[in-house]
């Protein structure tokens, strides 16, 4: 029997009082793609960071190819043939591809010789693994798919034969993700070992041979992918049965609530982020806006939410909305019955150092019931917060906790509780489940559907195609500041949406990955 490429025994790691990894055991066989799945905060990334020498384990042993080794720093991991592609790329934006690849692995003190040798080796590697990139392109001019390839090449250049990828598809379109998986298959054929960390069940089922499940810092199971199902994996991850699909009845759309005509927005540096967007949302329906991050969806939410000025015509319940000037602020919007769950809850949705009860009241401070003459009626605010915390199952249930002490999912529940409880006519929701665990996702989706069923209009923006597909009653796809098309979820496919997200409206014919990427790089070059 061959020795495992990686074997971990009894790995434990704590950050202060939080135990991120508890007595972890893991065996990864060489020449396989091994998935590690778990919710956010289950300890996957910590475990892999220990393997890459980014953190040091408190206890436990690491064996690489049967040999016990110590990994005190990344240099040691690299020497043992371990490479890592982080979720947030570790690239220097204004360096070229070549400079990024040699950084830290230069041969000799002068750059000329090391860059020359790297160029030759890079050419060879790109051909061998179909990882084509222009060595002289600047990173900031490349799309995320390309940047990811640079990260993979960086690892291969350091002669890694065990490659760890941390949530690699979070930023990719479906077709880019497919291409990535083909690259990973190619690496496997060459005898490399791939460890894929993800929270997406579909990916695990598609590409891995073995999958290990983590929950709350523990390794709960390792199973053969062929012998399991998404439902079983989800149950192992969460510790109870979960509903993977959203259970909802057909929409009963009523009259139009939001009517947007030719909306245009320029950002601070004068780049046009919205180039004439028109859409409508009716009572009792969810309009999902799909798109790769950075194609104008954020700006759309911000303009409608009153956080940014724009040009064009917007009507809410038939009444025009001011898009510039003093009356275009978020407060006026709230008074008009527009609720907003912003995309970045930590920066725009909450004040992290404030208590939960203070956060629950934000934006509605001038409400008569929270005020007593000149003073705030904090008792009323707290009482209200307690009720919401209970109703929305926020844990811990302590309204005196600071926002930053809640998990991602519970922070999001606080924001959603605040916005949904006002029963807005129109709810703007951005990335409602980003960084939220499966159990909370289920709950949040249920709440959004319940609001729809009360006859409210909902505009949902998400980069998670699964979420768009399962929640929306209609789907609009954005690319480069424009709506590329609208589809009904029942009449479209991920493939078709993926092409629209890359700006390709001719979805009847086949398109090569290169075409898709060329298009994406073009738009991100302009946007960046």
């Amino acid at each position: 029997m061959t020795a495992p490429a990686i074997e971990l025994k009894g790995i434990s790691k704590s950050f202060g009082p939080v135990q991120a990894n508890k007595d972890i055991a893991l065996r990864v066989m060489p020449g396989t793609i091994h998935g590690i799945i778990g919710e956010n905060g289950a300890g996957k990334s910590t475990l892999m960071s220990i393997l890459y020498g980014f953190y040091k384990a408190d206890r436990g042993e690491i064996f690489v190819r049967g040999e016990k080794i110590e990994i005190p720093d990344s240099q040691a991991a690299i020497r043992s043939g371990i490479g890592m592609v982080f979720q947030h790329f570790k690239l220097v934006q204004n360096f070229t591809v070549l400079e990024n690849i040699v950084l830290g692995a230069e041969e000799g003190a002068l750059l000329r010789t090391s860059l020359g040798r790297a160029r030759a080796l890079l050419k060879q590697l790109s051909e061998e693994y179909e990882l084509h990139v222009d060595p002289d392109a600047k990173i900031e001019d490349l799309g995320v798919g390309m940047q990811q390839r640079v990260e993979i090449l960086k690892a291969l250049y350091r002669r890694a034969d065990i490659l760890i990828l941390d949530e690699p598809t979070g930023v990719l379109t479906p077709s880019e993700a497919d291409h990535l998986f083909r690259i990973l298959e190619g690496l496997k054929r060459e005898g490399k070992t791939v460890i894929l960390i993800t929270h997406k069940l579909r990916e695990i089922m598609e590409v891995t041979e073995t999958v290990s499940v983590m929950r709350r810092g523990e390794m709960t199971a390792t199973v053969k992918t062929a012998e399991t199902s998404p439902e079983e994996l989800a149950e192992l991850m969460v510790g109870r049965k979960v509903l993977l699909r959203v259970d909802k009845d057909a929409a009963k759309p009523g009259e139009t609530v939001l009517d947007v005509h030719d909306l245009k927005v320029r950002d601070g540096s004068g780049v046009e982020r919205l180039r004439g967007v028109s859409l409508t949302v009716k009572r009792g329906e969810i309009l999902g806006v799909a798109g790769v991050a950075g194609n104008g969806q954020s700006e759309l939410l911000e303009v409608l939410g009153g956080m940014r000025e724009g040009k064009g015509k917007v009507f809410v319940n038939g009444e025009p909305l001011d898009l510039t000037g003093a009356k275009s602020d978020a407060r006026t919007r709230r008074k008009r019955g527009i609720g907003h769950v912003p995309e970045d809850r930590q920066r725009e949705g909450l004040i992290m150092d404030f208590h939960a009860w203070e956060n629950v009241g934000f934006g509605y401070h001038d409400d008569a019931r929270y005020n007593r003459g000149l003073l705030m009626n904090n008792d009323a605010l707290r009482e209200d917060a307690r009720a919401k915390i209970e109703k929305f199952d926020v844990r811990p249930t302590d309204c005196w906790q600071k926002a930053k002490n809640f998990s991602g999912g519970n922070q999001q529940k606080i924001v959603i509780a605040r916005e949904l409880e006002r029963e807005p006519d129109l709810l703007l929701v951005g990335q409602p489940t980003r960084g939220v665990d499966i159990g909370a996702i289920e709950f949040i989706h249920e709440q959004i559907v319940a609001l729809r069923d009360q006859g409210k209009a909902i505009l949902l923006v998400s980069v998670e195609l699964d979420e768009i597909m399962s929640l929306s009653d209609r789907i609009a796809v954005m690319f480069d500041g424009r709506i590329m098309g609208e589809r009904l979820p029942s009449e479209t496919s991920e493939r078709e949406l993926g092409l629209l997200m890359a700006g390709i409206t001719d979805t009847e014919h086949d398109h090569t990955v290169e075409e898709v990427e060329a298009n994406l790089a073009h738009s991100s070059g302009k946007a960046g």
Binding site: V92, L111, R112
Partner: protein, 321 residues
């Protein structure tokens, strides 16, 4: 304005640009590594004082120079300790260094020499002598170029030439060596450097030490080359002008040379004329002295191309989870 006037202004431009240039390159190394340094002024000041004081006591300018460099390096290490090791606020540390330097130099000067917070005037070997470039005498007869070479370029102290040679040296180190690649990378994205297996802390300390060395040279030149001894607050904001030059130069060594020459020229002009008569209007020299700051604001406002500082500048490096 005669030809002689022009030569004399150019001569003092070079002398006045030198401390700016050395300090500007010092700041360039530090900031390119991601450590913002507004303590250039303070470091120059301690270097000026210790170089002058030690030169006065020992009678040797070279020992003075070493003392000046050592003092600036110690102050750099304090800044490094605060901002790299303890991940403190780099601006606060820089401000503290400036205050500490301003107070400490005056106090020690009074204690050691009792001459009203100054060192005794330096003479002879306690000051840097001038160096004549080769053929300066022989060429001085050549029209235009002769005086330019013999009177403006030749006849400065060695530190002037060191300062100007530091420009190509900095460029070479930064853009042609492994150390330079890593230094630029750590100022842009320390995470990339860390995951590539290179120590962020060591790189930043190296940059801060180079910064100390160069501000040491700048301060020593002020007290032992440009002037003949230390006087209270003798840096007179040069550290801040150097910072302005650094922004003006967009953190690039060759641009830094031109920025410092320009700012040196403005100082030379305002030193020579109390008002500048341009025929139509008279410009007071205070305005000329303020020009470096005005130009920097213009640059920062993005009117003349954008000055993009190193992305990780000012942020202590903490490993992300």
């Amino acid at each position: 304005m005669s030809f002689l006037d022009i030569i004399q202004i150019l001569d003092s431009t070079i002398r006045l640009a030198t401390p700016l240039l050395l300090a500007c390159l010092a700041g360039l190394f530090s900031e390119r590594s991601g450590v913002v340094d507004i303590g250039l002024e303070g470091k120059m000041l301690v270097a000026a004082f210790f170089s002058a004081a030690v030169a006065a006591i020992t009678g040797s300018v070279w020992i003075g120079l070493l003392a000046g460099i050592a003092a600036a390096v110690v102050f750099s290490l304090i800044h490094g300790l605060a901002s790299i090791t303890f991940r403190g606020d780099q601006l606060i540390s820089g401000v503290a260094i400036n205050f500490l330097a301003a107070g400490m130099t005056v106090l020690i000067a009074q204690d050691w020499f009792q001459q009203g917070s100054r060192t005794p005037a330096l003479t002879g070997d306690a000051r840097f002598g001038t160096i004549d470039l080769p053929f300066a005498d022989a060429l001085s007869g050549v029209p235009f170029l002769g005086p330019l070479y013999a009177d403006a370029l030749s006849g400065h102290t060695i530190l002037v030439y060191v300062g100007f040679l530091a420009v190509p040296a900095t460029w070479y180190v930064l853009f042609r060596t492994r150390f330079g690649l890593r230094l630029r990378a750590v100022g842009e994205n320390p995470g990339a450097v860390d995951t590539a297996g290179v120590s962020v802390v060591r790189l930043r300390y190296a940059a801060v030490l180079i910064c100390g060395l160069l501000t040491g040279l700048a301060g020593a030149y002020l007290a032992t080359g440009l002037a003949a001894g230390f006087t209270k607050d003798m840096t007179a904001g040069r550290g801040f002008i150097a910072l302005a030059a650094l922004i003006f130069a967009k953190w690039r060594p060759w641009y830094a040379l031109f920025a410092c020459l320009l700012f040196g020229f403005l100082q030379a002009v305002s030193n020579r004329y109390s008002t500048l008569d341009l025929g139509i209007i008279e410009i007071p020299n205070a305005f000329v002295l303020a020009l470096p700051y005005i130009l920097t604001v213009v640059i920062l406002a993005g009117f003349v191309g954008r000055a993009i500082p190193p992305r990780a500048g000012g942020q202590p490096y903490v490993k992300e989870r």
